[in-house]
Amino acid sequence: MEKTKEILKDLCSAVSVSGHEHASANALAEKYGGYFDNAYVDKFGNCVFVKKSELENAPRLLVDAHFDEVGMLVSSIEEDGFLHISGVGGLDTRIFPAAEVTVYGKKEIYGVIASTPPHLQSEKSSKATPKMDNIIIDTGYTKEELSALVRVGDPVRLKGDFKELANGYVLSRALDDKACVCAALISLMNSDKSKLAYDIYLTVSAQEETGRCGASFVATDIKPDLAVIIDVNFARCENVTEFESIECGGGAGIDISALTNRRFTKAIMKIAEQNGIEYQTICEPDSTGTNNELVMISGTGVRTAVMSIPLMAMHTTSEAVCIKDVESLADILRAIYVTKGL
């Protein structure tokens, strides 16, 4: 569990605002490449780890977790050192007023999102959800100073550092989908090649939050026979129904959807049961909201399954997961790797 937390913390510290994954993807390939036969970053910023089976002509299994996180880009530099921003992916803007941010310009610049004190808010304005167009960041710089450090298009992140909570829970921004990246890495890092039934391509993909084109193109390139897409899912909490959520601490979720392969999905459930690994099911009839939708129609079509980790407070700076669920997902993946004929 400690090792899992350590890797997850490391992943969460990487700056990977959607569309700007390249630098962090290179660092990731460098850092973990040694555990694999091959590691590379493609032109879209997808980081690919390859581990080959010793079997001849083994089928290709793609495991995809996305590396990008929701964030912002600078859209204009205003008088008095204010910045306008544009959202990348669907950040929950309710958490924006007075939040601390980091702007990744020529150097890291700290700023605060401007807010009105509660004393001066009207009843109406205090209830309104902030609109991205109206949000400004105060950096304390003059416009001239700021223009020398920041360009339009530079990424911006809200503060949300990794923290450990009680009972094996952790909190951080970008656990969507770095919790799954972590599960995929630990599932394959130390695996015994002689037992693998597949050539495994782990894609830590770019731009899931902004059009999912990373996974779509990397899958087109790899042409897998099978693919497992892993992403976070809604954790059960107040105001969320049982039908649209899974329980934190209840193990990985296995998605049942019209968009995934039925036989493959059933086989995964059976594998989990045979190995005594706890899992939950969630039904997402017409859309899984993941890279699956494009991976399945890449090339001449791919048989896919979707698995997930329950996540609290999605698309905020306080996303939280239970490490047990991360490890449960890794356990199921390990069992898949050694099961022939899927």
Binding site: F44, T210, F217
Partner: protein, 328 residues
């Protein structure tokens, strides 16, 4: 470039019916390219051979307009929109059919925002019979072509959206004598209806890098519009629009080239705005790097779009430098 643009504006064609525009472009560029062909979608694909990387430039030939759906007993012509049409902007505009029949778009419901089913075209016909002798179901109408010079270098007209990009590429084709890079100039069909042309053109060309050349929403003077670019501030390099992130590597090179050659440019990061042909080019190529450069255009998708020709000149300069210098 202005004379080419005038010719293009006078050639009419809505999405799926681009032949007039396409033929005109073919005639203009044929002597200057190594090959030019029209594909099944109606894309015009021109090739200037080189040994370097495959670069694709795209501009769209289609414009928004109206299809005739029904002719009423009283001779009123009912229409359906092709592309993203704001009927308020087109109410009481003069329009012309593909066969030269003129008319005016009338809104039926006074004081309400007009919609497709509450407008008709009055062609002056007194009866269904008279109307049907001039117009058939399936004919298209577009705003009467015009191009008016305003102060400074600004022009007002219909269908600058698309055709400014075409004019720039035509001019680029004429000016490029020899090329190191392998250049494809694609004049795409059906951009206004989900960029269907660009997708298949990119699939057949399979470029290393694709650059869409088009117009982009500009702020007007009333600041009512939520445009992302500013007229007269040069070519706009797209970084992010509502649903699309343009390849950072391409963006960086475009910025670098513009800076080095003192090309006036602005960068676009926006919550709104569409990706034009860019996304379709990237998907059609099964994944290629993609960029988009645009001429800012106020009142886009109206019969009086406004551009600053200086911005078009800067865009042309950038296209020429990309073609010449882009290395991957």
């Amino acid at each position: 470039m202005i004379s080419v643009l005038k010719k293009l504006v006078n050639a009419t064609g809505i999405s799926g019916r681009e032949a007039q525009v396409r033929d005109l472009i073919k005639e203009e560029i044929a002597p200057y390219v190594d090959g030019v062909e029209t594909d099944a979608m109606g894309n015009l694909i021109a090739h200037k051979k080189g040994n370097g990387k495959k670069l694709l430039f795209a501009a769209h030939t289609d414009s928004i307009g109206f299809f005739v759906t029904f002719i009423e007993k009283n001779g009123a012509i009912r229409v359906s929109p092709v592309g993203d049409i704001d009927f308020l902007a087109f109410s009481y505009s003069e329009v012309v059919s593909e066969n030269g029949v003129k008319g005016v778009i009338i809104s039926e419901k006074d004081g309400e925002i007009p919609k497709a089913d509450s407008v008709y075209i009055d062609i002056g016909a007194k009866s269904e019979k008279q109307a049907k002798s001039k117009v058939r179901v399936g004919d298209f109408f577009v705003p009467v072509p015009k191009m008016t010079k305003l102060l400074s270098n600004e022009y007002a007209g219909h269908s600058f959206d698309g055709k400014v990009g075409c004019a720039i590429l035509i001019e680029a084709i004429k000016q490029i004598k020899e090329t190191k890079n392998d250049l494809y100039f694609v004049f795409t069909a059906q951009q206004e209806v989900y960029s269907r042309g660009a997708r298949v053109a990119a699939y057949s060309v399979r470029p290393d890098v694709a650059v869409a050349v088009d117009t982009t929403d500009a702020k007007d003077k009333s600041s009512v519009s939520d445009g992302n670019a500013v007229l007269g501030e040069g070519v706009s390099i797209k970084i992010k629009t509502s649903r699309m992130i343009y390849s950072p590597e391409v963006v960086e090179k475009l910025r670098e080239i513009s800076t080095r050659h003192s090309i006036k440019y602005q960068c676009e990061v926006a919550n709104s705005g569409t990706e034009g042909d860019a996304k379709a080019l990237q998907n059609g190529a099964m994944g290629c790097l993609v960029g988009a450069i645009s001429v800012p255009c106020a009142n886009i998708h109206t019969s009086s779009e406004i551009i600053d020709m200086k911005d078009a000149e800067e865009t042309l300069k950038l296209v020429l430098k990309i073609a010449e210098e882009y290395e991957i």
